[in-house]
């Protein structure tokens, strides 16, 4: 599903966020990305979603080489990926329902079918009763769930979540982890960045640890290879 081959990302200004990272994530895996802040977790996720491009190295996602992806092909590539953001990135000028409808709309789906799917996604995250509400009136945990609903409504094969449990109390965090596990059980590949090690221990799954842009720990059952720091 995802293949990194000696990937380096250097931002303008010289900061090297990732250095020579190689890893492989198979279809249907649930992978946790951990490391201190600034370790390169967000950059790694952005590279997978082709929000950033690698400075060097090769990334293959869904069989497509990110570096060679044309600008015009980018939207279609992104439609196969559900993105969950730490800051939600919800649209506050429209209802909860319309927020979830947006990805379907973008993909050219409309009318009754789209509405049905949007409602199903809201149901999965337990927000069906809040359809007509404005996102600003939702609690932090509810906003995160709305963001998840938006990410999964188009049934992507891959979901990337950047610190989805940050700023949430434990009860909410567990709720969201349960959701992720449910998605994983129906075959969705998930890459979740978090520093909540407690949750990882509880829910299992593979762990990839970054430190200063380098891969330092690839947990059991793994095919990850990487250049370890000396």
């Amino acid at each position: 599903m995802i293949e990194f081959d000696r990937v380096t990302k250097r931002y303008p200004g010289g900061h090297e966020a990732l250095s020579e990272v190689s890893l492989r994530i198979a279809q249907g895996e649930m992978v946790f990305l951990t490391g201190h802040s600034g370790a390169g977790k967000s950059t790694l996720l952005k590279l997978i979603a082709a929000i950033e491009r690698p400075t060097s190295g090769q990334i293959i996602v869904n069989g497509q080489n990110i570096s060679r992806l044309k600008r015009a092909a980018l939207p279609y590539f992104r439609r196969n990926i559900g993105l969950i953001f730490q800051d939600h990135k919800l649209l506050y000028d429209r209802t909860v329902f319309d927020n979830v409808l947006l990805p379907l709309h973008i993909q050219g789906l409309s009318g009754h079918d789209a509405a049905k799917r949007a409602r199903a996604a809201l149901d999965k995250v337990g927000l069906l009763g809040r359809e007509r509400a404005r996102p600003i009136t939702l609690s932090g945990g509810e906003q995160q769930r709305l963001c998840i609903a938006r990410a999964i409504v188009s049934r992507p094969a891959l979901v990337l979540a950047d610190e989805p449990m940050a700023n949430l109390d434990d009860a909410y965090a567990h709720e969201i982890m349960e959701m992720f596990r449910a998605f994983n059980q129906v075959g969705v590949t998930l890459v979740i960045s978090t520093h909540n090690l407690d949750l990882i221990r509880r829910y299992g799954g593979r762990r990839i640890t970054l430190a200063h842009g380098r891969l330092i720990d690839a947990q059991p059952n793994t095919t990850v290879t990487g250049s370890l720091p000396a």
């Binding site: 491009r53 939207p75 992104r78 993105l83 990135k89 649209l91 409309s110 009318g111 188009s154």
Partner: protein, 302 residues
């Protein structure tokens, strides 16, 4: 296909909503566009009316052929008949020298005429041309002046030429104004669109992250530009109609003082349609360039 139609309708709705959600800002922009449009359109109308007025004046495109004194009446008749067969001549009228003298007398110069020892006037042919256009009149004049029987040809085309030149100048002015103000319209629209895009940055960013194509993002803004242009065109039309209404009385009084009746005409249906189409297209063009330019500016650096 139906989703495409749906999204277009949706974009139109969104654009319309954005337009009426900021009523004052929209009103001012529309007014600015209307003024910018009504200037060339108004000048065009004034010109059209002037042209019509000029058309009402009997512009007898007549040439007076003064024949040589040795040409006799019979010869003059023959010449008149011959000239009447020319394609560019409508008809020819002969004024023989006695009639000319009588005309002179009737014009109040009887005493002068009576004092003359002999009639000094030649026979005269009044040729009315088919085509009142100054250049063809001039060509006809030259041709007639070459006839051996003709002493002199009088053609008073000066005023016609001046009017034609004035109208041509007016038309050039309309074209120039239209181009300049059309450009201004596109820039005005582009600028409002640019501000809108900055206001919608979050939405655009999110839409891109979840796989929106540029076309999808661009569409509501294009509709907005077109709608705004259309509204501006309608307002310009209204502005012109109101102006014509206000001027009607004074124009009628002016015409009355000349002993004629004259009514201002507004934009005819095809002209109005052209005005609306132009304003819509200019709005669309302004939006297109603004969106393209601004969206490229919003691109995340890679």
């Amino acid at each position: 296909m139906s989703a495409w139609v749906e999204h277009n309708l949706h974009s139109l709705r969104v654009a319309f909503k954005r337009l009426i959600d900021a009523p004052f800002a929209s009103l001012f922009t529309v007014l600015v566009i209307a003024v910018a449009l009504s200037l060339p359109a108004g000048l065009y109308l004034a010109l059209a009316n002037l042209q019509r007025l000029a058309g009402n004046v009997p512009t007898e495109a007549e040439l007076s052929l003064f024949l040589k004194t040795e040409v006799g009446l019979e010869q003059a008749r023959r010449l008149a008949a011959k000239l009447a067969t020319r394609p560019e001549v409508r008809h020819v009228r002969l004024i023989d020298r006695d009639a000319a003298l009588a005309q002179l007398a009737a014009a109040g110069l009887g005493e002068v005429a009576a004092a003359l020892p002999a009639n000094p006037l030649p026979h005269t042919l009044v040729v009315s041309a088919r085509d009142p256009d100054p250049t063809s009149l001039e060509r006809l004049r030259e041709a007639l002046a070459r006839l051996p029987e003709v002493e002199r040809v009088n053609l008073d085309t000066d005023w016609a030429r001046r009017l034609a030149a004035l109208l041509a100048l007016g038309r050039d002015l309309v074209t120039l104004l239209a181009i300049l103000l059309g450009l201004a319209l596109a820039v005005i629209t582009g600028n409002t669109i640019r501000l809108q895009i900055y206001a919608q940055r979050d939405e655009i960013e999110v839409a891109r992250l979840i796989g929106a194509t540029d076309r999808f993002i661009r569409r509501p803004f294009l509709y907005f530009g077109a709608l705004q242009g259309l509204a501006g065109g309608l307002a310009a039309w209204l502005l012109l109609a109101v102006t014509a209404l206000l001027l009607e009385d004074s124009v009628a009084r002016l015409a009355d003082s000349y002993g004629t009746t004259f009514r201002l005409t507004g934009l005819a249906a095809p002209e109005a349609a052209a005005l609306l189409a132009t304003s819509t297209l200019l709005g669309l063009a302004g939006a297109y360039f603004a969106v393209g330019y601004t969206l490229r500016g919003l691109d995340t650096p890679r």
